[in-house]
């Protein structure tokens, strides 16, 4: 007995040694957790102790070239709720339903939703509603200031500006292209909360301010844009076309001064629930869609001809050359090409190049294109920027459609000479024509000239005119400009004439392709003009798509270009040259 009892006491000591050892092991583990691992654990724990409320950065303004506001951001609010912090869901839902004009049952459902930390009640409410909500002191309901994008003129420059999402992210147009500059950097408000997000009574708050977006200054002149929008509206009313489009630019720099398409959308009241309509009329078709330019394209053929003659190409013709074949018809590889009008009673006979432009005589341009040949014509197409994008600061630009050089036939080449069998964007045509009259430089078009910091006024980024390449010599360019002036003075562009201002230009009427085939009775009527011809500055392309009734560009498009020019003259107070 005594022996066993002694054993028990020995065993007690064994147990106590084991217990002390275990205490030591756990203490070491504890020391490791608290002292060595502690920092990392604390950092992880920190994430769950705070809830952050994002503070939306102010989205930058967009102004016109003179600093006039076009797009801005007003203070709107988003209403959010944390269901677990909502004390009296029913009275809360009642108050919100009344203020926000929302459905009580749906609100109650949101406010009592289980398993979510936060619900969105409504986005983009105005300051008045926000202060009403604030005054009710609803527990668990939060207001977060967020930008409300707003456009000074609404339905204005719509396809160029584009629009933003509810979250203020640029979706289309310049809003998307320059989004990273406009966006700014969001800040946040950190609050200390318990597990389910209830704020601690004596918790601290930390505030990281948002950095505002930058101001984007366009090359667009709001006055000229307004002129263009109004003239297009008039054309829409008078000609009842599918669409009317216009670009106005400065030929010396490539700055786009106005760019508009009708019909368009009101950016302040977007048809977001009619997606098809929205996408169709918010698209900047002037550079995303191609069309067959028709006679306006003859400027290129004429310029190529004169430039090649100057360089001594024997296949080219001088400005004085009289084209012998006065027939209104050419048969090329068995296919017939006709002039737009019958060559009877001496019409279109003994023409030189200038006469041919005046008359817009198709056979002469066919002769020139065929005489210059495939490689020379393609060389000029390339120089004038056809087949490649212009490089404008806008997404979705098309390069146009050229028949591949390897497979082009004489028939194709003959038609390209007067603007058929080729598809271009309106912008490409503008830039090419600008280079033909501005002294021979193909400019890169651009819509934004400056990005600046609104708080300091400092310019962060400046865009300046960029020459893409030389197309023709200054002399050729001057010749083309004066020939096109003659077209407006005496030829097909008569309707664009403004006494004393040397307007030059060329009309165009092209049949439309619908589903790959020529559609009878559907035309694109256009006029591309510029002034003053002695030293061109303003160029405008006016396109009237599928006008009702008359279809000739000279009648349907040229008068509207003249209206635009006249208004620009008035606005800029330009004195007559003669």
């Amino acid at each position: 007995m005594q022996h066993d009892y002694y054993t028990s006491k020995k065993r007690l000591l064994t147990l106590i040694v084991a217990a002390i050892f275990l205490f030591l092991v756990i203490f070491l583990r504890l020391a490791y957790i608290q002292v060595i691992w502690g920092k990392e654990l604390q950092a992880k724990a920190g994430n769950q102790w705070q809830r952050d409320l994002p503070i939306k950065a102010y989205r930058g303004d967009i102004t016109d070239t003179n600093g006039n506001l076009i797009a801005t951001t007003e203070t709107g609010y988003g209403v959010y709720a944390r269901p677990k912090s909502v004390v009296d869901a029913e009275s809360c839902a009642k108050a919100l339903a009344e203020i926000l004009d929302m459905d009580y049952a749906k609100l109650l459902e949101k406010l009592t939703k289980k398993g979510v930390s936060e619900v969105t009640i409504k986005r983009q409410i105005d300051s008045a509603q926000a202060s009403e909500i604030r005054s009710r002191n609803l527990h668990g309901v939060y207001l977060a200031a967020e930008g409300l994008r707003s456009y000074v003129y609404g339905d204005f420059l719509s396809q160029v500006l584009g629009f933003v999402s509810y979250d203020g992210v640029g979706q289309t147009g310049l809003e998307a292209y320059y989004d990273k500059y406009l966006q700014g950097i969001n800040g946040e408000l950190l609050t200390e909360t318990d597990l389910v997000g209830s704020e601690l009574a004596d918790g601290s708050m930390s505030y990281v301010p948002a950095i505002n977006g930058l101001t984007v200054t366009l090359t667009i002149d709001a006055v000229i844009q307004t002129i263009v929008e109004n003239v297009l509206q008039l054309a829409m009313y008078q000609q009842k076309p599918q669409a009317a489009r216009c670009i106005v630019l400065d030929v010396t720099t490539g700055e786009i001064l106005a760019m508009a398409s009708k019909p368009s959308v009101d950016l302040n009241n977007l048809p977001r629930d009619n997606l098809e309509y929205l996408m169709k009329y918010s698209k900047n078709t002037l550079l995303t869609d191609v069309y067959e330019p028709g006679s306006t394209f003859k400027v290129l053929t004429a310029a190529a001809c004169l430039e090649e003659y100057r360089r001594g190409n024997p296949k080219a013709f001088s400005a004085e050359h009289i084209f012998g074949n006065s027939s209104g018809i050419r048969i090329i590889d068995g296919s017939k090409i006709s002039c737009w009008t019958k060559h009877a009673n001496g019409k279109h006979s003994n023409q030189n190049l200038s006469d041919a432009l005046n008359n817009s005589c198709n056979p002469i341009f066919t002769d020139i294109a065929l005489s210059l040949g495939k490689s020379t014509m393609y060389e000029y197409l390339d120089k004038f920027g056809y087949g490649s994008v212009t490089g404008i600061d806008f997404s979705g630009e098309q390069a146009g459609i050229l028949v591949p050089k390897t497979s082009v036939t004489n028939g194709d080449l003959a038609r390209i000479g007067f603007g058929q069998t080729i598809a271009v964007t309106a912008l490409q045509l503008c830039m090419a024509t600008a280079s033909a009259v501005n002294g021979g430089l193909l400019m890169q078009p651009y819509l934004v000239k400056e990005i600046s910091d609104p708080t300091t006024g400092k310019v962060v980024k400046r865009f300046s005119p960029t020459v893409v390449n030389r197309t023709v010599s200054a002399e050729t360019s001057a010749q083309i400009a004066s020939m096109l002036k003659r077209v407006v003075d005496e030829g097909g562009g008569k309707n664009a004439k403004i006494e004393g201002y040397q307007v030059g230009g060329k009309t165009g009427t092209a049949q439309k392709f619908v589903d790959g085939a020529l559609a009878t009775g559907k035309y694109v009527s256009s006029f591309i003009g510029f002034f003053p011809a002695s030293s061109p500055k303003y160029l405008a392309l006016m396109i009237v798509d599928e006008p009702e009734g008359q279809s000739y560009g000279s009648i349907v498009a040229a008068p509207y270009a003249a209206l635009v020019f006249q208004e620009i003259i008035n606005y800029k107070n330009i004195s007559p040259l003669e």
Binding site: L30, I33, Q34
Partner: protein, 371 residues
């Protein structure tokens, strides 16, 4: 005549632990108590009542005859079995988190397993002092009762108390002098039971794995442990300061009960934890000292067994809180919120103090080290 004198070191250590328990139960529960009951002192008050009752009972028990306690050996086991069975009786049973661990009527509730542990220790101490436990046949009854207790507790289910109970059984038999080879025999059914339990209740395996990498399931099995580690990790050397725990804002589940030590670690740091460890070691060492110095087998077994309950339960709690073993709910003696637990442990301390008074005061020390 020997002058009776209770062990004041032990008493002081216990009282300090109880007071610290009140402080940290309050600290850990003030936020959730305010939210749930609108009174941040809710848990503190209930714990305070437990502490007062416990201390009164403890002091009374130091005065009564140890022979009276000895007489309760069979009654203790019988009452424990009855209470453990009552846990399954509808109307009396209280179900919490899918487990029936409590019985109660009105505002009173208790956890029978708390009583069962000490009843088992008392039973073994008496039985083993009357028999020769070196012989296998005298081991059978303690083993049998231990298995019945374990079976009833695991059916609740309460894995942690079952583990506690099983370890206690082994320790008591070891103290009683059971031979090593018999322990090996006992290990066989335990080794067989583990896979069966895992198969029957697969969530146990998941829990088992969760402690190895709690971040693998941060929202489910790993959640508790992650929150406990966050609390301890926030403490560092000296802690974030009393009442400043961040994890008690409902991040840490059972912050005032099973995981109160995490809050202590967060608020007082490694040094605070060391202090708590030292207090427990004092209680355990003084308990073992009483056992070693006792005059008879019964006192030795009883004092040793009571010390073992404190050691096993506190070590298991620390191991869970630090992620050293799979997480399982087990209150920390004297500190965790829970009236039954506090009263029962303080009563046991009363018994221990009572035994300490029967020890010859003059031949301590030397004998302690040479025995």
């Amino acid at each position: 005549m020997i002058k009776k004198r209770i062990d004041c070191v032990l008493l002081s250590a216990v009282l300090v632990l109880v007071v610290l328990g009140l402080v940290f139960v309050y600290s850990a529960s003030m936020y959730s108590a305010e939210l749930t009951y609108g009174n941040k002192y809710f848990f503190l008050f209930k714990q305070l009542i437990g502490a007062i009752i416990g201390i009164v009972v403890m002091l009374l028990v130091t005065r009564i005859s140890i022979d009276f306690i000895k007489k309760l050996w069979i009654a203790g086991v019988a009452v424990s079995v009855v209470l453990l069975v009552l846990v399954f009786v509808p109307g009396i049973s209280i179900e919490n988190y899918g487990a029936k661990r409590w019985i109660g009527f009105g505002s009173f509730s208790m956890q029978p397993s708390e009583i069962a542990k000490f009843a088992y220790v008392l039973f073994c101490a008496v039985y083993m002092s009357k028999t020769d436990t070196a012989k296998l046949r005298y081991c059978l009854l303690p083993i049998g009762i231990g298995i019945v207790f374990c079976g009833l507790i695991i059916a609740e289910p309460n894995m942690s108390i079952t583990m506690c109970m099983a370890m206690l059984m082994i320790i008591m038999l070891y103290l009683g002098g059971m031979k090593w080879k018999y322990f090996l025999l006992m290990l066989i059914p335990i080794a067989l039971a583990v896979p069966v339990l895992i198969f029957l209740e697969p969530y146990r395996l998941q829990r088992l794995l969760a402690f190895l990498d709690p971040w693998a399931s941060p929202k489910d099995e790993g959640y508790q442990l992650i929150q406990s580690l966050y609390a301890l990790g926030g403490g560092g050397w000296f802690g974030v300061g009393l009442f400043n725990s961040r994890q008690k804002y409902r991040f840490l589940p059972f912050a005032e009960s099973d995981f109160v030590f995490s809050v202590i670690g967060e608020e007082t740091g490694l040094f605070g934890c060391l202090f708590i460890f030292v207090l427990y070691l004092i209680v355990i060492l003084r308990g073992v000292r009483i056992a070693v110095n006792s005059q008879d087998k019964f006192s030795c077994y009883l004092a040793g067994g009571i010390s073992a309950v404190v050691a096993v339960q506190s070590l298991l709690n620390f191991a869970v809180v630090t992620g050293s073993i799979p997480p399982t709910g087990l209150p920390l003696p004297f500190i965790s919120y829970g009236g039954t637990s506090l009263v029962v442990f303080l009563t046991a301390m009363g018994v221990l103090l009572n035994l300490s008074a029967n020890v010859y005061q003059n031949n301590l020390g030397v004998k302690w080290w040479i025995t």
